[in-house]
Symmetry: C2
Subunit: 278 residues, 2 copies
């Protein structure tokens, strides 16, 4: 089995690393990065052979920074997966629930466990830069009055003990991730089953322009699963549109749709065609 | 002239207060709030008679939190304006350019002046919670080795001196703001000239659903100026769509378009109809 160094944002044990495992299994060698731009740069410059980035969350919406990087770095989406965000209360081994007074985690994770904090008013919320990083710090400092909120993978990696599982308010909390490779590198055979194509385009700023652009897909019964708009730099109040289409670029209908969109769009770039995730 | 207490996010002198001035002139009595939710709540509960919120920026895109609040609070958009974001280097009176070693501002503002910092490597970037707040703090502590990056209005309010004007990297940096009132309260006569209508809808999750929804406007030559998607809570991978249409709800074509969209949408809410901003 060929090992692939795979970049992701966050500490070891971050939710992105769960996505790495789902997408590449045991082949992936984790390469944690501090910022998203470093993740893209590592892959682009060859330090990493693959990268995994979050693209949207069912509670918070799109991760817009990564849409911008997808346009600016010339990489290819080769897969997608979604991870259910399960927050666990993790403490140092031997520490008992009654000892806990402070809880460390990323502010977003703390805010996703408000019912838990309301039920346990003795606990102080302590914002930290990273979910998994809060487990790492708690273990390194052997804190006896504190816990951290993070994934079960983070508990496993740093040797923490899960005191309470799944303390998040909303169980419909999923994050969708993309697997990126350099153009030309292919991880696996194209494979069977449904595929998705992600693309980005701009239209002339004329009435009905977006409607006409979408007609390229709608008139061929090709289904859009997502549309996202982002500002076009240097052209105030004009937009880039990112869409995901449930179709394979090798299918004749989708090839025609892309040709049709090319006629209508000022700019069009296919970001990748990949197996639909579960 | 009737004075209107107007809520906005940030300290006195924030860019939002410039929008307040553009939208309501001298009638507005500023009511600074710490968080966006407080802005909506102040208006909703009657502490304020109007509110002004940023909705999108030409470099960063939409302010999604405010899209979510527009849905959750039952208020009405009654106006829009856009403000060019001009960053100025402000110091205490008497402090000279050569004395400056530290520069305080909101991280987003610091990141919008990277060319300036690259040209002056002796300056340390110091993140602060607010642009105008950094001027307030600098003046209160009478800092002699520091400057702040903020609006000219912030310099004026706190008595700071502008050392360098317009140090932002990109002059195409505009923020669009909405004026909100309670439903039923009207600030001014409907007025002449072009109007915009903002609305939010959901569609059934079927192929071509968004295309059909947009046809309600496109087939009547009504122009969309903006579309934004946000996750629908509790329904993973389904979306709310926010659109701005260049049309007046009192026009017969627009009334028919809204009737048509109502047939196609699972949910539809008009957020406001207001004069198009300059």
């Amino acid at each position: 089995m060929k090992r692939i160094r795979t970049a992701f944002q966050g500490e070891l044990g971050a939710f992105s690393q769960i996505a790495v495992k789902q997408l590449l299994g045991e082949a992936a060698v984790p390469l944690p990065c501090e910022r998203f731009e470093q993740v893209f740069r590592s892959l682009s410059e060859g330090t990493a052979g693959a990268a995994v980035i979050p693209i949207e969350n069912t509670l918070h919406g799109s991760i817009h920074e990564n849409y911008d990087h997808l346009l600016n770095f010339d990489l290819q989406i080769q897969g997608e997966t979604s991870v259910r965000i399960i927050h666990n209360l993790i403490a140092c081994p031997g520490v008992k629930w009654k000892q806990i007074r402070r809880v460390f985690s990323h502010p977003v994770a703390l805010n996703q466990c408000l019912d838990f904090f309301a039920a346990h008013p003795q606990l102080e919320k302590c914002p930290f830069y990273d979910t998994a990083g809060s487990v790492k710090m708690m273990m390194a400092e052997n804190l006896q009055d504190a816990a951290a909120i993070a994934s079960s993978m983070a508990a496993e990696i740093y040797g923490g003990k899960i005191l309470k599982r799944s303390i998040e308010d909303d169980r419909q909390n999923f994050t969708r991730f993309f697997l990126l490779r350099r153009r030309g590198d292919s991880s696996a055979a194209p494979g069977e089953g449904e595929r998705k194509t992600s693309l980005v385009f701009t239209t002339r700023n004329t009435p009905g322009a977006l409607f006409r652009a979408l007609s390229a897909f709608a008139l061929r019964d090709l289904s859009l699963t997502k549309i996202e708009s982002r500002p076009l730099r240097g052209k105030p109040w004009e937009y880039l549109f990112y869409v995901d289409v449930l179709a394979d670029t090798r299918d004749s209908k989708m090839r025609k749709a892309l040709g049709h969109l090319e006629e209508l769009a000022d700019f069009l770039k296919v970001l990748g065609c990949y197996p639909r995730g579960k």
